[in-house]
């Protein structure tokens, strides 16, 4: 058969000019939700001219800012091909632990330990989030447990822990250090909006333009291949879980600051919305696909819809139905604009 090898003389067909079609499409995919967002904005304006007023827009951005950060965290985890359901509990527990350790039972009818100075609040919140992420990582990466079910268990345990330490009550009289970020305004815009936008911007750069960021995609796309290419997959996944936990804790801190309290139910049920936003924004649950910017448009779309429904004064019993219906329609729209079957 060696003759096969020697007789290959025919020239290859010349390569077609390297077209730019695909990346353009890929970028378009990021923008898949823009038509839907514009539609909602127009409908919103028709429903009520208030919709496009600056204070309403700021209201929408502020009310989505904390969840948006959780969506960002979940997006990172999803890109590596894992899931973290426990983020919704971290969102409540991390500020809850800090409040528990800090607040003075004399002021709050017996809640809290007053064991730690208020100045440590922020590091405490972030550390709690990071530790939860690290523990998830331990069970998932080291023990090889299934991520969905580990984090589902953790969701219940952490929520139960918050109920346990608070006795189901609400922590209030939080120190200034815990409320500042969630309630301050910088340049007439709430700090939480700035923080969420900055975090998204940083994530866009990290995921698009650093090796570490790209390795998340590689792991999510094909973990074996990533390992073969020299990515320390275990370490990266673990680190991603820690970062996600920390981000969720920060988001929890912001909302606690905004509400000047930590309820035992903080974040309860939020994970549904988080997944909906990420997936509508084009992030794949199978890993390796999706962008931070897309996820952002996903949250934005959901919150705009909620805002329009609120402005429209939809009858109370039908809000949920409409909310869900609009999500489905948004999905179908993004399917049509995106063009590809979703995975």
């Amino acid at each position: 058969m060696s003759d096969t090898l020697s007789s290959t003389t025919a020239a290859e067909a010349p390569p077609p000019p390297a077209t730019r079609r695909i990346p353009a499409l890929a970028r378009l995919r990021d923008l898949a939700l823009v038509p839907a967002i514009v539609t909602v904005a127009i409908v919103g304006y028709i429903v009520s001219p208030v919709f496009l007023r600056t204070d309403n827009i700021i209201n929408v951005l502020q009310s989505m800012s904390e969840i948006a950060i959780v969506v960002l965290a979940e997006t990172l985890v999803l890109i590596t091909g894992k899931m973290d359901l426990s983020l919704e509990s971290t969102f409540g527990l991390a500020p809850g632990i800090a409040a528990w350790l800090i607040v003075d039972p004399a002021v709050t009818h017996g809640l809290g330990l007053h064991a730690v100075p208020g100045a440590l609040a922020i590091p405490l919140v972030l550390l709690t989030g990071a530790l939860i992420g690290a523990f998830n990582g331990l069970l998932i990466v080291r023990f090889g447990l299934n991520g969905f079910i580990v984090t589902l268990g953790m969701l219940i345990v952490l929520r139960g822990l918050l109920t346990g330490i608070s006795g189901g009550k609400t922590f209030f009289a939080l120190p200034e250090s815990m409320t500042y970020l969630g309630s301050a305004s910088w340049l007439a815009v709430p700090a939480s909006i700035w923080i969420s936008l900055i975090l998204f911007a940083v994530a866009v750069v990290v995921l698009g333009y650093t090796r570490a960021g790209r390795s998340l995609y590689a792991i999510g796309g094909n973990a074996d291949a990533a390992r073969a290419a020299g990515v320390r997959t275990d370490r990266v996944v673990w680190l991603t879980l820690v970062v996600a936990g920390t981000l969720a804790a920060l988001a929890g801190l912001l909302i606690s600051g905004r509400l000047a309290s930590v309820t035992a139910a903080q974040g309860d049920g939020a994970i549904f919305q988080v997944f909906a936003a990420a997936v509508i924004g084009g992030v794949s649950l199978n890993g390796g696909k999706g962008t931070v910017f897309g996820a952002f448009t996903g949250v934005l779309l959901l919150f705009l819809i909620i805002n329009v429904l609120t402005l429209a004064g939809v009858p109370a019993q039908w809000t949920n139905f409409l909310n869900g219906a609009v999500i489905l329609v948004a999905l179908v729209v993004s399917r049509v604009t995106g063009g590809k079957a979703q995975t």
Partner: protein
């Protein structure tokens, strides 16, 4: 400098590795010396790929040690250190479909600029240059999932060879390449060898071993059998070492074509695929027809349209007078069509299910009644195939994911045969199959033809095509020539490339 004096680039000693109850390597070893091109051969499941995983740090051996240039191998976690020692094209694809071709080429070694940020423009340019050097003509910005099997293989090869590594392992790199591709690869290997790069080369094509390798190591049943310069080991001896028996390799398999008055069983009339390739032909009882052609000749598309895997744009296929419904696999199966698809990992196997379930998947009617399955009957059928096709497994219940590459291929073959097909369509049936098993598989083709069925072999592998009564050669979506058995290799190769030697 004699052979023994050259410093070993890599030395693996007393390597043992088990997967559950399977012994993949049993005190096996290999020594590769600087500058040589070292072949590693052995039958399917002999443990070659497992050794590759161990030599590249993807798996830790249970026993034994690996050293590079006399120093102990890096710890398992330190991937960068491993990658400095050795580059590799694995048998299993390591392409990430969701990422662009460019990024796949430079995965985890992206070109970085200020602030450690990736410079995509520069990266894309390097990617284009790299692929141009391999004459692979693809848009580097498209996701790698859009590549053909062969293009994907080239991306892997181009990547492994672009590290600047001094030692490169190639695990069956040629299994997915056509003739021109193989020669391009070999030219490159020769050039690198001239620069002193060392290769460990695995292939089931023995002529390739003789063509570019200096030294050959044979594994059999998880053990090291022999290491010798290729010149000292002729083909028969090599096969004997691999199989452990003295077999005379297939002699002349030429048999007279079926009588001209044999009944026509299969008619393909004006079949046009979605991509525009077309074919028309007929086949008679007991006839083996080859469908040959180069990389983009359209032969695979025709095969897929024929069996219903893809919906044809036009034309019709008739088997024993029954016209197949377009684009319907169930209808094709009902009409008695069996298929070995090209991409066996994607379309051939359900890895988590057992051999028995995979083999009988197309023939639920044969393993039970009223939709109920008889496990005993299923296992009996699977047992038959395990024996007939010499599948190396401990029984019909072994999940296909635990089999070696070649054995998985045999399971796919078993699945195609399970329905006693009237038309058997085999797409590159022997890719990745060892010499001995190749004979077994082609022997099965003989049996099938003996029963009067029609066999269509879609391949550019001359060994596969040699058993055909005639070969239809496709070029650019058209059948351009028909060659009766007895063709000369050069003629067929020339025909596949659209060159007519007789008329030049």
């Amino acid at each position: 400098m004699t052979y023994e004096e050259m410093a070993p680039v890599v030395e693996a000693v007393d390597i043992g590795k088990r997967f559950g109850s399977t012994v993949a390597l049993d005190r096996a070893g290999i020594t590769v010396r600087a500058g040589e091109t070292h072949a590693l051969v052995g039958r399917n499941g002999a443990g070659k790929s497992t050794l590759v995983d161990i030599l590249t740090g993807l798996q830790a051996p249970d026993t034994g040690r690996v050293s590079f240039g006399g120093r102990a191998a890096p710890p398992p976690g330190d991937r960068d250190a491993w990658r400095r020692q050795v580059a590799c094209v694995y048998q299993k694809s390591t392409i990430i479909g969701a990422l662009t071709v460019a990024e796949n080429l430079f995965l985890n070694r992206h070109d970085r600029g200020a602030g450690g940020l990736i410079r995509w423009r520069a990266l894309r340019r390097s990617a284009r240059e790299l692929l141009a050097a391999w004459s692979v003509d693809v848009d580097v910005d498209q996701p790698a999932s859009a590549l053909t099997v062969e293009q994907r293989q080239f991306v892997e090869i181009a990547r492994a060879l672009s590290f600047g590594a001094r030692f490169i392992i190639l695990d069956e790199p040629t299994a997915q390449l056509d003739g021109t591709g193989i020669s391009r690869l070999f030219d490159r290997i020769r050039a690198l060898r001239a620069q002193g790069v060392t290769f460990l080369f695995i292939s089931h094509h023995l002529q390739e071993i003789y063509e570019i390798c200096d030294v050959v190591t044979v594994f059999r049943d998880a053990r090291h059998i022999v290491t010798a310069p290729v010149a000292e080991l002729d083909r028969a001896a090599l096969v004997a070492a691999m199989t452990g028996e003295d077999v005379s390799l297939a002699g002349d398999t030429y048999r007279p074509p079926p009588p001209a008055d044999a009944a026509v069983r299969v008619v393909v009339r004006d079949l046009v695929t979605a991509s525009g390739a077309g074919a028309s032909f007929e086949a008679r009882t007991g006839e083996v027809v080859g469908l040959a052609g180069g990389g983009s000749s359209g032969k695979f598309e025709v095969a897929e349209a024929l069996v219903g895997l893809a919906k044809p744009a036009g034309g019709k296929v008739t088997v024993d007078g029954r016209t197949l419904r377009r684009g319907s696999v169930p209808d094709a199966l009902a009409a008695g069509v069996g298929l070995v698809p090209q991409d066996r990992h994607r379309q051939g196997l359900v890895p988590l299910l057992s051999i028995a379930e995979n083999v009988t998947m197309t023939v639920p009617g044969r393993i039970g009644r009223h939709g109920l399955i008889s496990p005993a009957r299923r296992d009996a059928i699977a047992h038959g195939f395990i024996t007939d096709l010499a599948i190396k497994a401990s029984g019909p219940h072994v999940p296909v994911s635990d089999l070696s590459g070649g054995n998985q291929q045999k399971v796919v073959m078993g699945r195609a045969l399970a329905g006693d097909p009237k038309l058997l369509v085999l797409v590159t049936p022997t890719a990745g199959v060892d010499v001995r098993s190749k004979q077994t598989l082609l022997g099965v083709v003989d049996q099938v033809r003996g029963r009067g069925s029609v066999v269509l072999i879609v391949s550019d592998e001359l060994d596969d095509l040699r058993i055909c009564d005639r070969v239809l050669v496709m070029v650019q979506g058209r059948i351009v020539r028909e060659m009766q058995a007895g063709w000369r290799d050069n003629d067929l190769v020339a025909a596949m490339e659209g060159v007519d030697l007789d008329h030049v």
